[in-house]
Amino acid sequence: MQLIKNGSFIEDQFVTVGDDEALPEGAAIVSLERWQAERETLRARNAPVGVRLKSGQEPSVIAQDLDKLAVVALEFPAYRNGRAYSYARLLRERYGFKGEVRAVGNVLRDQFQFMIRCGFDALEVADNITPEIFAECAGFFTAFYQPAADGKPTVLSLRQRLAARAQAAG
């Protein structure tokens, strides 16, 4: 597994810890269950903490804690299970989460661009993904119909801009 964050292949600073493992000194990602069970201790911690949500654990359950979380990792149990696309948009657009939203699990190259559009800024990908493949897949499309979490201008806004320019030119 490799981690791509904001387009760069980087060393993962976070350790994903199992529910019965001891917490490391540094940055850690825990399950929702562990977060809920040890919430007070984890909130008081100095090292950064992230929570990993399974499909079915929606972001509203941690909405009150987002100010304390550095990472929310959203699980794709299978490429076909697209729930986490909605979760990522809710984190960004509804709850205004500014930390890292990480895609973990079954993350296919052909889905990178959809994920980025929905607000994922970190992707945990298979080892065969090279920077060239990432660049190609993250940039398949250069025009977008829908407003999403990436704030890219939509086709509609570009049309309006063109129309305004045409009008200004008389």
């Binding site: 929606e58 697209g82 729930r83 909605s86 052909d110 959809f114 559009r117 250069t142 025009a143 119909y145």
Partner: protein
């Protein structure tokens, strides 16, 4: 018709390039068939029994002559000289080679067409009324909102991996030709007391294993909020739709399990949030930009009666039959809507040769403002023909075996590809439709029987819409033998109903006789001018059952 601007074209071109790369990875062996599957399924490529099949989107069923000529050309170059029009107004090619598909799609893109989202668990091609812009009681042309939905749903980043496929249909008239109540979302264009146009939204209709009629979630969504409303429905479905069992993953099951009231509550809550965010607010200038493409063509000022037409009807009885069944009333005096049957006697419903496509393109260019429609009943429609040209149009169609006078009659059947093509099917459906067509070939008898819709499906997935046929035929497999189960009383219009099973299934040898018995029962008990479906609604299933199984 809508024309692509630079952005629409760019997105389609980028899709062709992307798919070319994916096909190259499959052909080089870098991708296994399993890994390739989700990718091809996003682009209408299915693996059938014998070969790959490609499904091309015909958004809301509208085609220009130029586009139809391109489909004819693609059929000759990459297939076996024909294509198949589907119940979702699309076109399927059954025999193209995978290595050719990127080139095929590149050619298709030159006429502003694509195969995007014609399969996969995403929002599929939006379907609509084939009489759009021509129907008398139309509140607004449904193609405007259909095109807006096409754009919004194309490569939607959040909704490309839904629990299951998702189908949206739009109707602009109170009488529903788009079967909106058996779609995941059905949109009925309505007008409020102040004259504002908006949308009534039905959610959770569908056929398949568990047929359900859509529930009305709202009476009125204002125009500028439609995309926010649709996004709210989609988000609730994406988050809460079942993913544990593919047969329980459609939105109809979610609506059924939580109830329409709860569904409405969740959608309303999400809708309120999305409205607050405001990013999906649809500016009326954009609606106007798209609406401009669907302005009425330059209709002539004509008398409503045509002496040429009246004379030809008297002189040519075959033409008279065709006028009686295939012509519908147009909103403009002196014009008519022409339905072209793709159901010749003994033929394969929906099949059309490349030569026929070229012929229809020429006729549309000459007589119907250069455009035509595909219907969900697998026929074609010329929306705006002068009444005085009807005979010439008929003669031109006849030369290409396209003048069958059977629209809405017993031989105008819907049929899925069935076991002849499909990997899912349990039984053949095309040959059954062909035998029924041959049994009732006599045109006078068909007209005597009147409106009667027979829908054939080769398996429980119901691609042939058997649940909503006045007579539905479902192929089932019993220990390796094909049997056919019959339902009665289904309908897909504004009085949508799911048909009722009449009794034990029939063998291939018995099924045509059984259909004939049902028809004869109807003829014996109908009142003056009563259609089959009306008789059924009046008397129920019992008389049909008694006659059918009396001898057994």
């Amino acid at each position: 018709m809508y024309r692509y601007d630079e952005f629409d074209q760019q997105i389609v071109n980028e899709r062709v390039a992307q798919f070319r790369g994916q096909v190259a990875r499959r052909l080089s062996g870098e991708l296994t068939e399993d890994e390739f599957k989700p990718l091809r399924l996003m682009n209408g490529v299915y693996l059938q029994l014998h070969a790959y099949m490609l499904r091309i989107a015909i958004p809301y069923g509208t085609l220009s002559s130029r586009q139809l000529r391109m489909l004819a050309h693609l059929g000759r170059k990459y297939d076996r000289g024909y294509g198949h029009f589907t119940t979702r107004q699309n076109l399927q090619f059954n025999w193209p080679a995978l290595k050719d598909m990127p080139d095929l799609l590149a050619e298709l893109a030159t006429v502003e067409m694509h195969a995007i989202q014609t399969s996969g668990n995403c929002i599929r091609n939006v379907t609509s009324d084939q009489y759009a812009g021509a129907a008398k009681n139309e509140i607004e042309d449904p193609r405007i909102v259909s095109e807006i939905i096409r754009q919004w749903s194309t490569f939607h980043p959040e909704f490309s991996f839904l629990p299951r496929k998702f189908k949206i249909a739009v109707s602009g008239t109170p009488d529903d030709r788009a079967a909106i109540r058996v779609h995941d979302i059905g949109i009925q264009i309505v007008q409020d007391a102040k004259g504002n146009i908006g949308y009534e939204v039905y959610v959770g209709g569908g056929l398949g294993r568990t047929p359900m009629i859509g529930k009305k979630l709202t009476d009125f969504v204002p125009k500028e909020d439609l995309l926010a409303y649709l996004e709210a429905v989609m988000r609730v479905y994406n988050m809460y739709g079942r993913r544990d069992n593919m047969y329980k993953s459609r939105i109809k099951i979610l609506v059924h399990e939580i109830g329409a009231e709860e569904m409405k509550r969740q959608v309303d809550a999400e809708f309120a949030e999305l409205k607050k965010a405001g990013t999906l607010h649809l500016p009326l200038e954009e609606v106007a930009r798209i609406e401009a493409y669907f302005r009425p063509p330059a209709f002539e000022d004509l008398p409503n009666e045509s002496t040429e037409l009246n004379k030809a009807v008297l002189a040519d009885p075959d033409f008279a039959n065709w006028v009686k069944s295939n012509i519908a009333e147009h909103k403009v005096p002196g014009y008519a809507i022409v339905n072209i049957s793709l159901k010749p006697i003994g033929g394969v419903p929906g099949d059309c040769t490349s030569d026929q496509m070229d012929a229809v393109a020429d006729i549309a260019e000459k007589y119907s403002f250069d455009e035509l429609r595909v219907t969900h009943e697998q026929n074609l429609t010329l929306a705006h023909v002068r009444k005085k040209d009807l005979h010439a149009v008929y003669e031109a169609l006849k030369k290409h075996d396209l003048a069958t006078a059977n629209i809405n009659l017993i031989t105008d059947q819907i049929a899925c590809p069935g076991l002849d093509y499909c990997a899912l099917a349990n039984a053949r459906s095309i040959p059954i439709a062909q035998r029924i067509s041959e049994r009732f070939a006599d045109i006078a008898r068909q007209h005597e029987i009147g409106e009667l819709k027979i829908n054939n499906s080769g398996c429980i997935n119901a691609c042939g819409h058997h649940h909503v046929g006045h007579i539905g035929i479902l192929g089932v497999d019993k220990k390796g033998v094909e049997y056919y189960q019959v339902t009665l009383g289904g309908a897909a219009d504004e009085k949508t109903a799911i048909g009722e099973i009449v009794g034990p299934a029939f063998t291939e040898g018995e099924i045509v006789d059984a259909i004939e018995k049902i028809v004869n029962t109807y003829l014996g008990i109908r009142t003056e001018g009563e259609r089959f479906i009306d008789t059924y609604r009046r008397v129920g299933i019992e008389p049909f059952k008694e006659n059918l199984y009396a001898a057994h």
